[in-house]
Amino acid sequence: MKNTFNRMILAGILLLAAGQLFSQTAAPGKISGDVVKLGVLTDMSGLYSDIGGQGSVVAAQMAVDEFGGKVLGKPIKVISADHQNKADVGANVARQWFDTQGVDVILDVLNSGVALAVSKVANEKHRIFLVSGAGSTRLTNEDCNPYTIHYVYDTYATGTVTGKAVVEHGGNTWFFITADYAFGHSLQDDTSKAVTAAGGKVVGSVLHPLNAPDFSSYLLQAQASGAKVIGMANAGGDTINTIKTAAQFGVSNKQTLAGLLIFISDIHALGLPLTQGMYVASAFYWDLNDDTRKFSKAYQAKTGKMPTMVQAGVYSSALEYLRAVKAAGTDDPDAVLKQLKGMTLNDAFVKNGKIRPDGRMVRDFYLFQVKTPAESKGPWDVYKLISTVPADQAFQPLSLSRCPLVKK
């Protein structure tokens, strides 16, 4: 009796396992569910929604339109959801999308906390996750996995490029105002290393909650520290309010503000009088060359705004994903990944991009300076290019990687 019971359990387990195998491996040469589904998971209404949000959905759709809405003869569909900046909500949507909605790839995912959770789900379900919005370097280090590709920027790139430039211009003592979650910590760490390496010194830091209502207290501590530079290890609405409050407290007379992750939407919201002269490290600016201008003007016609590097990144990651599907002749995740990681990426957003074994997409990075109101010729004419940082200097070298996928 007991034996029969055991056998039944065993049979059950085998059946389940077989089912799992079956659901994971679509036969090569085919499109699962006869449709390629791109899922844009982003902050639709919170403090980061101007960086990605609805704009990311539009960007993904632009990539689909470039493909004529079809790949390998099957339709392409873009769906989207709001993760509300909550890791559990993000992970749940990802699980649902993969399990029941037949989503082939997840795009964007602003907010590092959410992206780390979604990355785990992608790895567990063996589906592709192309991160444009989140910045934490943990995605390609401790928490790296074969299915997650970090596409646009990370805190190492923006922190190092800005940190180095500021120290070289004399800002050698630093105080950090840091958002208290994965991304902020990561940004502060990476920038601190760059500052110290360039001969600067970090004299202190203060943590603030995400979406803090008032920054005056942190700025007062930064002022008291006597540091020459106040590094803002935060993003979006938090950075905007830090800069605004700093102006009221007369910080700029004695100290320099350094934004370690600044988006064009932030500059646009604050205006040039408050932001002029600031250094900005970015993977994208609309006015770089003919390709970026063409894409950005088309985007602006649809949304009324110029794309942030995240939105441009979502467009590019969707486009390159579809190219990889076409080249692989299937949407089987492993086959597409193999294709993607072997490709050289070239489009309006990226020139000669390569995906490394740790999942980091590397490409040249840019250091900009915010124009003065007199230099600017229009509402979006905000940056002047200071230098182009080659890929191998902008991103963390593989030799320092803490990702187990990297063979040393």
């Binding site: 209404s45 919170g46 403090l47 980061y48 929604s49 101007d50 208290d180 203060v206 943590l207 603030h208 909650p209 979406n211 803090a212 209502p213 008032d214 005056s216 207290s217 942190y218 007062l220 501590q221 008291a224 979006g236 609405g237 905007i240 309010n241 605004k244 409050t245 009221q248 407290f249 007369g250 939407s265 932030d266 646009h268 919201a269 604050l270 205006g271 408050l274």
Partner: protein
């Protein structure tokens, strides 16, 4: 330099001053909430949205009509108060006979609608509202430079808070209001128009939120999210002060601002939880709040 627990006294005083500025906003907002709850028994979840609306109206006044800060300070609260009357007459009125829960749900929904509308129109990065030129510069208080505008915020909100309190406690109108709360039917029997009193009350509460919004506009980014960020703390303030206690909510608002300021010096990570820890402690010891009466 004298120190307290390893923190220089000067830094401490500076943080306390900033705490007072934040406390003023808490006080102004919780005062409005308290009035509305005390008189109408409605928990107004749309209060944060009305605060945000006040700030956005100030921005619109400047951007579309070229009306400066002082006009905004007058007109925006009046417009928000008018909006309050519409909400009260058009919607809330129908819910008085029902469980207070319905009022809560309705106002919560209203808050979502208002924020959604402004988000749809302007996005979340917010709109810049320049500080009026009269407030450029800072006062040297010896221990810190206080931007003149923040000094003005403290003076203005303290005046408004205690003015409103005096109005309710010491004037004929205030007496009518308080009587109408205790026993609306009896007061109506004396020939006083109770429904109008109720509308006025809601309008005043809403107007106070709008005023706080205009005061906040130059010092933070005018954004659809600015109300949500603040309102949760304000609710905690009202609960700690005692639901419906007007003086209680003013004093608690100021006090909690100070405590929050101190927390930012000693352990800034806890600054947004400390209010709720205090709330839990107060509820354990005095369920009606510090200044509230058991009903």
């Amino acid at each position: 330099m004298p120190e307290i627990f390893g923190v220089p006294l000067v830094a401490l005083l500076g943080q306390l001053m900033l705490g007072l500025v934040n406390g003023c906003f808490y006080a102004l907002l919780s005062l409005g909430l308290s009035i509305i709850f005390g008189m109408l028994n409605i928990i107004n979840f749309a209060h944060g949205a009305l605060y945000m609306t006040g700030a956005v109206f100030a921005w619109i006044a400047l951007d579309q009509f070229g009306l400066g800060y002082w006009w905004a300070l007058l007109l925006a609260p009046l417009t928000v108060a008018l909006l309050g009357v519409l909400i009260e007459r058009g919607l809330l009125r129908w819910l008085y006979a029902l469980d207070p829960l319905y009022g809560l749900l309705l106002t919560f929904g209203l808050a979502l609608v208002l924020e959604g509308l402004f988000r749809y129109r302007y996005g979340v990065s917010g709109l810049p509202y320049a500080q009026p030129a009269a407030f450029d510069g800072a006062f040297n208080l010896g221990f810190m430079f206080l931007p003149k505008y923040r000094g003005w915020v403290v003076v203005a909100s303290l005046l408004v808070c205690f003015g409103t309190w005096a109005l309710i406690e010491w004037t004929q109108l205030g007496a009518y209001l308080r009587a109408a709360t205790e026993n609306p039917r009896l007061v109506q029997a004396f020939g006083i128009n109770v429904p109008a009193m109720v509308s006025i009350t809601f309008a005043v509460g809403a107007g106070l939120a709008g005023l706080a919004g205009v005061l906040a506009a130059p010092q933070t980014q005018v954004s659809p999210l600015m109300g949500t960020n603040l309102i949760i703390v304000v609710f905690a303030v009202v609960v700690i002060g005692g639901m419906g206690s007007i003086l209680g909510s003013i004093l608690t608002g100021l006090g909690l601002g100070l405590i929050e300021g101190l927390t930012k010096v000693f352990y800034s990570q806890a600054s947004n939880t400390v209010v709720f820890v205090i709330m839990a402690l107060v509820l354990l010891m005095k369920p009606a709040g510090l200044f509230g009466r058991e009903r």
